[in-house]
Symmetry: C2
């Protein structure tokens, strides 16, 4: 837009369905998140205001247009020029805007909306702006085409102001981060778990991460991949992300030493859940998030998932459960976690050649009793630390 | 394709990642599902064969091209013409095919692949087919453009046969229905729950439905909407779908009569889960599927979801948990459940004006004890029936 912009219009819609009370809370959270993300990124703006289902970021900084669509809850964004709601001002600005970006012989349409009380209709706005543009550009062969124009100029008149824009940038959608409860997300260092955490962040959940470090059955690279993924996810969060690291290699060794080898993966997952549940209670969180997707690998069977969750009492969310690997990779690429998640690293070497695909609940419970699961858990919790990603 | 087709090539890819044993089982299931769906729809075909990561449906029936992409596990589909792998036959067919659908002055490219042992390379195939087309159409201004051609002709030479096609139809993806475990899906009659069930079907799960009938707090229309949604989902299933119906109105009345009104929704959901768990055991299923999505309505808070699932021991899957309403509606429209799910019908009138958004687990457990939850469950199960959708 050759003539620049002085405001960025922010649209959100799922919030608009809520009751007035909830809506107010959601909007305030959204504005806070916008402010924190812009501040964190050093983008310049003079203020953020809210009016009738729209948020306005007052800015002339190009970076804002790139940053705001990433904020969860934002449906779309338009950099706009502001003027008063007087028709002569609106049509004058429309003409200046048009002559800067409509080419000779090209067609255009005015898309007008109006909110508030005015002495004119939105159709009047469209007609007067259209006339002003045709007049301004009368020697350049410009014409109106409402059906498939080369360019659209949007004019929104809201109370005493009018906003003109030509671009609608798609936002990420979802709900403002922090409007839903806190969740503990398991992070393995693979492709799937960061995507699962991101989807829950997108739905408004604050996420606390838990990385269970399987060394010596994995290596430092795998740990590094997890931390890089968290850094990538921080670009989506107005605040830094909290990470717990739990040593899990000793537990794996205990399972391999004294249980049937084929049960190792199920026992390991249950241990991770137990650790996560304790962190959940400490953090006042409401559930656990995993990257499990049915049937993607041999051990991700519905029977194993059932044995893994049995009697652990708290909700375990698998937001990828219905997605294909291709769909998961597409999201990972888009959110920036794909590259870090496929770096070098040793996959867990404790995984048996033939892991159980139909783990029996009774066998699993017996194995846990034999290995002394409560004591192992306590030892692990004693050595679980908050770390910097 | 003016010259018709004699085979439909079916591609699948996630299956190709599996071990030989699993892959064989998945491929057999996929072929069975294809066969059942085609038979159910009355489509004509002479056979289905499998070869090196491809399935071939031998048919000249146009309906097959529409049906096969809907089968879960199918990534893409191409109606093709078959000939021998002799280069002269391949290039001859390419020339006939091209002259039927390339217009005067248009460009084309040959995309060739080869599997098996031949005395020529895939490049030889491309060159010879290209030459044959240029020769056949030499007076019509046709030319080769490998970068952005008007038309692409795909040539796959596989052992003794060659397949020529011009069209790649996107399939639904996922895993063949029946390769993963069975799940019990709750079906309310709204937009979300059929989408949740469909996503699990797409990932290979056989689904058994449970409709909890809240009459007199809902009406016959709501029941009807659920059944219409199941019928729509049957179009995606090679076999008919099994449906249980449980009377839940009496339970709701008991909750309203003797518990705090604000807990009604949480108690109701827990009752549905209890019914589903009993059906799960009877059916040998491995989990429950719901249409819950965080924060979509007032009662869908993480705290309520936690209270709803507490101590019920079996996995509850919420495949929509990370999706926005818009995304859910888009899927519903595509799979055919949207229209039936928005028909007339009374939403549950037992929903209190101010349902709890932060249900406390202890309060919920106390209320269940007070109301005599086990006896209510038993009475409900006694009157739960398998019904026809």
């Amino acid at each position: 837009m050759g003539t620049g912009f002085d405001v960025v219009i922010v649209r959100y819609d799922e919030i608009a369905l809520k009751s007035q009370y909830v809506r107010n809370r959601y909007e305030r959270t959204l504005i806070n998140n916008l402010r924190m993300l812009l501040d964190k990124s050093g983008a310049r703006y003079t203020g953020i205001t809210r009016e009738r289902g729209r948020i306005f970021v007052h800015t002339m900084d190009e970076r804002v247009i790139g940053l705001v669509p990433r904020v969860f809850g934002v449906v779309s964004v338009s950099p706009a020029l502001t003027t008063s709601s007087r028709l002569v001002d609106v049509s004058g600005l429309a003409a200046r805007l048009a002559s800067a970006f409509i080419g000779d012989g090209e067609s255009f349409a005015i898309r007008s909306r109006r909110a508030g009380s005015h002495s004119f209709t939105s159709r009047d706005v469209a007609v007067q702006c259209g006339d002003a543009i045709l007049e301004e550009m009368r020697e350049r062969g410009v014409y109106v085409d409402l059906t498939s124009p080369d360019h659209e100029i949007h004019v929104e008149v809201r109370e005493g102001s009018a906003y003109l824009y030509t671009k609608i940038v798609q936002g990420t959608g979802g709900l403002p981060l922090g409007t839903q409860g806190k969740m503990i997300a398991l992070l393995s260092g693979g492709i799937d778990s960061p995507v699962a955490a991101w989807l829950m962040m997108k739905r408004g959940c604050r996420i606390v991460f838990l990385h269970c470090n399987n060394q010596p059955f994995s290596d430092e690279n795998t740990r590094g991949r997890s931390m890089e993924c968290i850094k990538a996810l921080e670009a989506w969060s107005p605040i830094g992300l909290k990470v717990y690291e739990a040593p899990n290699g000793g537990n794996l060794k205990a399972f391999l030493d004294c249980c049937e080898e084929k049960l190792a993966c199920v026992l390991c997952k249950r241990m991770m859940y137990r650790i996560a549940i304790e962190i959940m209670k400490k953090e006042g969180a409401h559930g656990i998030v995993t990257g499990a997707s049915l049937g993607q690998v041999a051990s991700q069977t519905s029977q194993n998932l059932m044995a893994e969750a049995y009697r652990l009492n708290y909700p375990i969310y698998h937001p990828l459960i219905g997605l294909d690997k291709k769909e998961i990779i597409r999201i990972a690429e888009w959110i920036g976690t794909y590259t870090p998640s496929i770096g070098p690293g040793v996959c867990c070497t404790a995984v048996p050649d033939h892991p159980a695909t139909r783990a029996r609940i009774n066998e699993v419970l017996r194995a846990e009793e034999k290995v002394g699961i409560e004591e192992l858990l306590q030892q692990t919790l004693d050595r679980t630390r908050v770390v910097k990603p």
